[in-house]
């Protein structure tokens, strides 16, 4: 599969960039399209900060009793 998307090579200056150099990127497969997109995606740092606070608030689960491990229950 050959699919195209326009990706810019340079980052500055923005005005020139948008007017001129835009490359056409060809992807070899659907997976490559998605992997490229995933690689460009940044996890918002707010999630981690929020998760730290949430995890600190919850009561830790009880440790699994040893006999449950032994009996597989």
């Amino acid at each position: 599969m050959k699919q195209e998307t326009k990706l810019s090579q340079k980052q500055e200056p923005l005005a020139e960039q948008t007017a001129e150099a835009q490359t056409v990127r060809e992807f070899a497969s659907t997976e490559e399209v998605l992997r490229t997109d995933a690689a460009q995606t940044t996890v918002p740092p707010e999630i981690g900060e929020r998760l730290k606070k949430s995890a600190a608030r919850i009561r830790p689960p009880e440790a699994r009793p040893w006999w449950k491990n032994l009996l597989g229950r």
Binding site: L34, Q40, G48, A63
Partner: protein, 210 residues
């Protein structure tokens, strides 16, 4: 990865209440303000390492499957919080990544089912897309992300949920076909057959977005 239960970990720093800003204090005898406090620590450091390693693929799955950056943030938070609560239930029969994906898939499918039941149309507006690109170096990079991301979203939106999920999982190079099949409760052969059709369908829809 050997992860101790939260109950086995040392107590973390006290939780700061949201919205309460401590007063600015100065160094004694000077006008220099004290340095900012360090960012909050993970209550279980190993869980922090787990989050760092797996948050991107989980966030990406939620982002593209739910098609809404704010909902994806909430879902990613909720998925990892569920994982934190259930660490004692992780039996090591699957990889941590697969276990997290299972929680994420169930969570996302429940959300989507709930939206469909309420007949709510979800769509990502430009402001939310800017949020999804947070942390990128330039607006241009954000635009790139937005363009490719929007095209993918449009293409995935035209596919059955099953195909979208399948493509998103297969794109993760850490997952084998066997693991993807297990996550989707299907045989490996069925996954291979559906994947062939899903790729074709995606290619057609993606080409339409150009």
């Amino acid at each position: 990865m050997n992860i101790p239960l939260p109950s086995q970990a040392a107590a973390g720093p006290p939780v700061k209440l949201k919205g309460l800003t401590p007063p600015v204090r100065n160094e004694p005898g000077t006008d220099q303000p004290l340095p900012a406090p360090p960012p909050a620590a993970w209550p279980v450091p190993e869980f922090g390492a787990l989050y760092e390693e797996h948050s991107r693929p989980i966030y990406y799955l939620t982002l593209r499957f739910l098609a809404d950056p704010q909902k994806a943030e909430d879902a990613t938070h909720d998925v990892f919080l569920k994982a934190f609560r259930r660490l004692d239930q992780f039996r090591g029969e699957a990889s941590i990544r697969t276990w997290l994906y299972r929680i994420a898939i169930n969570h996302c499918q429940n959300l989507r089912q709930s939206w469909q039941n309420r007949n709510i149309q979800t769509s990502a507006d430009d402001a939310l897309w800017e949020g999804a690109a947070a942390g990128t170096d330039s607006p241009l990079q954000a635009l790139e992300t937005k363009e490719l991301g929007q095209r993918i979203l449009t293409a995935l939106d035209a596919l059955p949920d099953e195909y979208s999920l399948l493509l998103l999982l297969v794109a993760d190079e850490e997952l084998s076909y066997e693991e993807v099949a297990a996550l989707l409760d299907q045989s490996t052969d069925a996954v291979r057959g559906k994947l062939h059709r899903a790729r074709k369908a995606f290619a057609v829809q993606f080409a339409k977005t150009a």
